[in-house]
Symmetry: C2
């Protein structure tokens, strides 16, 4: 048992707790020495990590030696082809000692190899003859912070910003360094530190406040992470110009000059991230320009410095009239960006949310995946649980992300999965990868709910390699974080892997989405968005619910997919049932493949969801003596709160549908009238 409050590691997967006896028997005294190439930018970080890791795990801090052949753990910078981010890790039996060699054409590969070695050690995989050769599947593995300079975090549920406080940097930059270690350990190589909704103060991160950017970027640089900044498309207006028109030569010059000066101050800048023409943010539409013209202008400014311009596709009309049935928000991203495919500069990367709406518990995959063929793009996921319980509920999203990654777009025939698209295997694109909105904050355990760390960890692992299985990632995280007790790892893995389905069961059925409280998005409110301007309507009435998004008779959204999927989504019979209410309007009496009516399915899943939370709670209670008391009590409290709130969801949703339909539960359970 460990009191992580006294540790810089805050109870997470870089704990480096002393290994259990069975492991120590194999590894103790095995790694007395290490050799790390000198003079690399990352030399110090790698050396420190090996000291810290081995010192913690096996109780022996290795001595640094000069010669590779004298070292138990040797790192070798190879003059070879291959990804500088990839590495090869070999283990052989030496003279009474294991000999570990980590080699890479790049120092970043050595850093990733170091973390991989320490992870493998904890998982007991390191033994003679074992080897591992890996390189990341895509060049961009990004984290987005929605942190504001005042320290608040938009959609943050784990305290305040770890970067900013009261419009200055935080004092505790050691924590930023630990954060960089955490991110590097899972392969993250770019972090946007400020909110995509760039307000007045944040606009100055590219100018008067560039020193703040520089300080953080220097820490990141030690871990191979490039700093990205969210920028305000209307910045020129803030700096005295009278336009932000991307075709205005003055505006173009302004951005070029500002970017040049910024790179002089912050050489480790990866580029800019932009939310434009979205939810009242400024953008090229203001000047009658296309999204491509807006993005290209900024990309041109970044190009001389190797920077990339990441441009979000979250563009839709957020002033819709609910009475207007001709507009379908789900269509918006594709309608805006598909016609521009091929018009973007080489260093523009579009960032596309996984679904057409906004990180709901269940959505179809955005048809832009498979739709865009000639434009760099990223898959954007949301680690922070905005709509999925806000880290008060356990909702492990790796299974959701796996479904998204494995979705076959048929863009180049069968097998054109999202995973293959965002790793550049379907279309030959320069920049691909993943980005995700993080769940990290100033809470001691980083993520509010300790088990929500698994989402952060899992995202990084999937960004590194989308083919990793949810099960493997889950067990990895549980072992690294909570230790080697098989019962703990099994139980926590079960809890995590079932939690998304559980959350879906007691919240929003069959892809209908929303039904949460407006604004903060916590808790049930079935009609909370029904008459709003956000384009999010379920149109439930006495007989049926849902919006027809088919081509024949609907909004046509289904037609944005390639033929195989378009046909699948088009009809009620072929549409996957978990998305039935996303694509179709369905009577409550419609009989599902289970033989149940829609309404009975809704009632059943809501009763089931609460029972599943009760089971999760019981499972966790069974671990009382097996995890440290503080973590146990903390997770217990969250699960107890989740149970209360799951019942609220169950009762509100069931009552809502009962009041509408007046169809009773077949099993006569309690539905409040």
């Amino acid at each position: 048992m460990r009191n992580y409050k006294n540790s810089r590691d805050y109870g997470c997967w870089l704990n480096y707790d002393l290994l259990p006896p069975a492991f120590l028997a194999k590894y103790e005294q095995q790694f007395p020495t290490m050799a790390v190439p000198r003079g690399m930018a990352l030399t110090q970080s790698i050396t420190a990590e090996l000291r810290r890791g081995l010192g913690g795990l096996v109780g022996q801090v290795p001595n640094l030696v000069e010669r590779e052949d004298e070292a138990a753990v040797a790192l070798r910078l190879e003059d070879a082809a291959g990804s500088p981010e990839g590495f090869k890790l070999t283990v052989r039996a030496g003279e009474g000692l294991l000999k570990v060699l980590i080699s890479s054409p790049g120092e970043q590969g050595l850093l990733y190899g170091t973390f991989a070695f320490l992870r493998a050690l904890q998982l007991g995989e390191v033994e003679p003859g074992w080897e591992l050769q890996e390189s990341p599947r895509s060049p961009l593995r990004l984290i987005n912070h929605w942190d504001n300079l005042d320290g608040s975090i938009e959609r943050g549920y784990a305290g305040q910003s770890i970067f900013f406080k009261d419009n200055h940097l935080v004092e505790d930059l050691d924590r930023v360094r630990d954060y960089a270690r955490l991110m590097a350990s899972i392969g993250i190589n770019g972090i946007a530190i400020n909110n995509v909704n760039v307000h007045r103060e944040e606009t100055h991160l590219i100018a008067a406040k560039a020193e703040m950017s520089r300080t953080i970027s220097c820490i990141f640089q030690d871990y191979g992470i490039r700093l990205f900044l969210s920028v305000n498309f209307a910045s020129p207006l803030e700096f005295g110009l009278d336009s932000a028109d991307p075709l205005d030569p003055q505006v173009q010059s302004w951005w070029k000059e500002r970017t040049r000066q910024l790179y002089a101050e912050v050489p480790n800048l990866g580029g800019f991230l932009v939310k434009a023409d979205s939810e009242n943010r400024p953008g090229p539409f203001t000047y009658g320009r296309t999204q491509a013209q807006g993005a290209n202008m900024l990309a041109e400014a970044l190009e001389p410095f190797g920077g990339v311009l990441i441009w979000r596709c979250f563009v839709y009309n957020c002033q819709q009239d609910w009475r207007d049935t001709t507009t379908d928000r789900a269509r918006a991203a594709y309608d805006h960006f598909k016609p521009l495919d091929g018009q973007f500069r080489d260093n523009v990367v579009l960032q596309i949310k996984n679904g057409p709406m906004d990180f709901q518990v269940r959505e179809p995959v955005s048809p832009l995946f498979g739709g865009l063929e000639r434009t760099n793009h990223l898959l954007e996921l949301q680690i922070t649980q905005e709509y999925t319980g806000q880290q008060r509920h356990l909702c492990y999203l790796v299974p959701q992300w796996k479904e998204i990654l494995e979705f076959d777009t048929y863009a180049r025939g069968p097998g054109s999965t999202v995973a293959r698209i965002v790793t550049g295997s379907v279309f030959p694109l320069r920049w691909t990868g993943l980005a995700a909105v993080t769940n990290v904050g100033s809470d001691p355990n980083w993520t509010g709910h300790t088990l929500a760390q698994a989402n952060l960890y899992g995202y990084g692992r999937l960004a590194w390699n989308p083919e990793l299985s949810a099960e493997d990632i889950t067990r990895e995280w549980a072992t690294l974080t909570l230790g080697h007790d098989g019962d703990v790892v099994d139980t926590v893995s079960q809890m995590l892997l079932g939690s998304w389905e559980t959350y879906e069961n007691y919240t929003v059925p069959l892809g209908i989405g929303w039904m949460c409280n407006p604004g903060h998005h916590y808790g049930p409110n079935p009609e909370g968005y029904e008459y709003s301007k956000w384009g999010t309507y379920h149109k439930a009435d006495h007989l049926a619910i849902g919006v027809d998004r088919s081509v024949q008779g609907g909004t046509g959204f289904a037609g944005q997919y390639h033929l195989e999927n378009a046909q699948m989504y088009e009809t009620v019979e072929t549409c996957p049932e978990e998305l039935l209410l996303f694509f179709h309007r369905i009577p409550y009496t419609h009989v599902l493949k289970s033989g149940k009516t829609l309404i009975q399915h809704i009632y059943d899943t809501h009763f089931l969801g609460v029972e599943q939370v009760e089971e999760m709670l019981a499972k966790w209670q069974g671990l009382a003596d097996k995890v440290d008391p503080e973590t146990f009590a903390h997770v217990l409290e969250r699960l107890q709160g989740q149970l209360v709130d799951a019942k609220e969801w169950r009762d509100v949703i069931n009552t809502f549908f009962y009041r509408l339909s007046h169809i009773p539960d077949a099993h006569n359970r309690k539905i409040y009238p």
Copy 2:
């Protein structure tokens, strides 16, 4: 036409514009002199008002003379019995001039007589032989500000506070003086300047920030207005004590000493206003004490200085579970306070909201009126239009208030109206009267919507004399503010007098309440409060809507009234239909007295309400050449916005009920499915 932007009067009923020719013919040169008793606290204010009023209205500033018999307008302080707030105003023909005499036993009566004279002059009532004898019907005629020291106003829709900005007083204290004039002109004699939700900064208005209270109170004093302060029941905790228990001798001593010091600094203090044990405010319940024990403790501290303690009865459980059908928020005020009747000290005054809920467009009268027999109490109204269109909609509330005042409680048999209760005619109570939450802010026209001034004016006039008719008050205000054009006065009066019914038509039917957006309370959201903790549920389902509040089978709220009303509200047949959904659960197919079903009534009133707004708009447009262009354009813009929002209300409410009931409109009008 007048550009009120250049005037200190901001376009309101103290404009004192030059009278029209027909009036000038009567009054010009008639008032060359005035005599005002010297040495009174109000001498300066009265003199200045006569100068300003006559100078403006008839174009001649009167000279001050010593002797009453030399003055055209003479004020006389009489050594007589009678209310020092009352006055007698006589007009007789002198030697070629009118002779006006205003007399009173008190200087405050002279001030009110002065304003009455100037008003009568504008209304053309001043002529030989005319006389007016008035005194206010109750001793407390109060205004409550919900202003915070940072300048914000809770439920304010007319800009920022006229008192506070950034935790200091505003710079423009002349405007505060004009405000005091406005209030005195309608007979207001007490103003609570800060929000009943007393936050940290505001807690210090009784201590370190007493200088701010003093400054405002000095201005008020010139107009016979006493300053009230909202205080934090938990103040002792803020000042270092470890309790705020009203029975703790240390707490009692603390309040006595603080109050003593406060009166030394602010002698014009009328007393304290307290919101305790309400919506998360601290109160005696924290210490297991009754509301009476809490109030009496503060009242005892005020007693040596003649101060009164005003204690709000807005006490209810704001953490209700919507599944709990045994709790009825409507019952709360009566259940809490009726058993304490007679236990309060003589200088405690309970302040009771007009209805049992919270200032909805339609509620029954609180059963505490007629219920409390031995406790001083006030009727609390809401001038600021929190639930009635927030000064973006025209909703003139004087007709609502008249209904409330004329409501017969039967407390002492027929005729025991609210008006008679709050003027002390039913029960012999020392302190009675009215209080109202104001709609005033820093907007140039005081109230955001210029026509919303009529609510402020009307409140004061009713507080002075609840028997004034809505029609008379309305025409008075329109004439004083918009001038003597008969068409303008007629049209504006019609618009005002019909606007409450119109607002009710397109918003919330038959007393069901709420159905607005949570938090800010603007715009429709039929289920916005349905699953909340606020105790405000309509429980609409496929067949019916409403909560049964009868004694037989309901929550029993109807039984809180005296027998005549209890019986009336008890049954569907006898319940007034405008309150049908407040007291009963009614099927949509229930046939109303009109012969229409409930659902058809809802549809019809909602279509009608929008048509009525269209008519209001047309009426106003007909005045284009008859009111000053700025006022015309401003009101036009508000009415146009009201029309858009009325259509939104109509469509949302109709759609909501159609989706639930699936009963079509008998007239086949457009209801969005």
